[in-house]
Assembly symmetry: C2
Homo-oligomer: 165 residues x 2
C-alpha cells in the first residue's frame, strides 16, 4: 500500500512576524519583501490569507537571530504601505510532515491535525505544498508535537534522529 | 551562477473556500478537514494565519467541480466548531514559481511579487515551501500573471507549454 507520508521534521529556531492590516492592493507584498530582501534576511514560511475589508495580514518566519533585523525592515514597510500593526513571536516551532504520495492530501491533513488535537496542541499557522504540510505551534510543545505526528504516521524513528529543516 | 527558479506553473481549475472566525483552540482544524476527507475531496492549498481575538480564518482550495461538495462539508463543520462565516470564490488561479535553489527565498519572493505588482495583479493568498512559492490571483489575470513571472525569472517558455500542477 502506498505510504503518503515518509517523514516528519521540526525547526525550533524560527521566529514569526505578522504585519497586520496590509492594504489589499497590488504592490504591497512587494514593498514588504523588498525591504526584507535588501537586508539579506532569510525567510522560510510566508503565509497570507484572503483579505477582509480591503486589508490582509501577512506572516512570515525567519531564523531567530534575524528577528531584530526583520522587525526593522517590517517597521519601515508598515509605514510605506499603511499597515495597521506588527506582531511577533520568538517562541514558535515549525512542525512538518513530508510525503511524495500526498497529492490527495486531505487525508494527511486531517490525520496530522488530529494527532496534534489529541495532545491539545494549538495550530497557529498552516501552509502546504504538494509534498509538505507545515504548521506553527508553541515552542514548548515541540517534542509532543513531533512525537504525535511520528506515532500517527508510524514513522518509527526517535525525534532526536531527525535533521531540522 | 545559480538559478533559484527553474519553472512556473498555474492551475486555473481551483476554487477557494474560507471558513472565517474558527475558534483558535486545539481540535478545530481537525473537525473541518475530517469532514472534507470523509467526502473524499481533494485539497490543494491550505492556509491559516495566526489568530486574532481567539479566532482564525482557514482557507483551502479544491478542484472547481468539488466546490459544492466541499461547501457542504464546511457548512457542517462551521456549526460544529462555532465559526462565524464561510466565503468562497470559484474565479481564482494558483500561480507558482518553483526552484531547488530557493533556500534563501526572500529574493525570489520579492521578485515574484514585484512581477505581479508591475502588472497590477492583486495577490489574494500566499503560501510557500522550500521549493515553491504559490499565490492565488483572480482567474481573469491568469495569463498576465504567468507571463509576468516567466519574464521576471527569464524562463523562456510560452505559458501554453506548461503543464498544470
Ligand atoms: C496584501 C497584499 O498581498 C496585496 N494583495 C498585494 O498584492 O501586494
Ligand atoms: C484555528 C485552528 O487551527 C486551531 N488553532 C486548531 O488547532 O485546530
Amino acid at each position: 500500500k502506498s505510504v503518503p507520508v515518509c517523514g516528519a521534521a521540526m525547526n525550533k529556531s524560527e521566529a514569526r512576524i505578522t504585519i497586520q492590516g496590509v492594504p489589499d492592493s497590488p504592490g504591497n507584498s512587494y514593498q514588504i519583501f523588498k525591504r526584507i530582501a535588501d537586508r539579506k534576511i532569510t525567510v522560510d514560511m510566508i503565509v497570507q490569507n484572503v483579505g477582509q475589508e480591503n486589508r490582509a495580514d501577512i506572516s512570515f518566519t525567519v531564523p531567530q537571530d534575524e528577528l531584530a533585523k526583520a522587525l526593522a525592515a517590517v517597521k519601515e514597510a508598515k509605514e510605506v504601505v499603511g499597515a495597521t500593526g506588527i506582531t511577533s513571536d520568538d517562541k514558535v516551532t515549525k512542525v512538518s510532515v513530508v510525503g511524495l504520495g500526498m497529492a490527495h492530501q486531505t487525508g494527511v491533513a486531517q490525520k496530522m491535525f488530529r494527532a496534534l488535537a489529541n495532545e491539545s496542541i494549538n495550530i497557529q499557522m498552516i501552509t502546504t505544498s504538494e509534498i509538505k504540510i507545515s504548521v506553527l505551534v508553541e515552542r514548548g510543545q515541540s517534542l509532543p508535537a513531533l512525537r504525535a505526528v511520528h506515532q500517527s504516521f508510524e514513522l518509527h524513528r526517535k525525534p532526536d534522529d531527525l535533521t531540522e529543516w
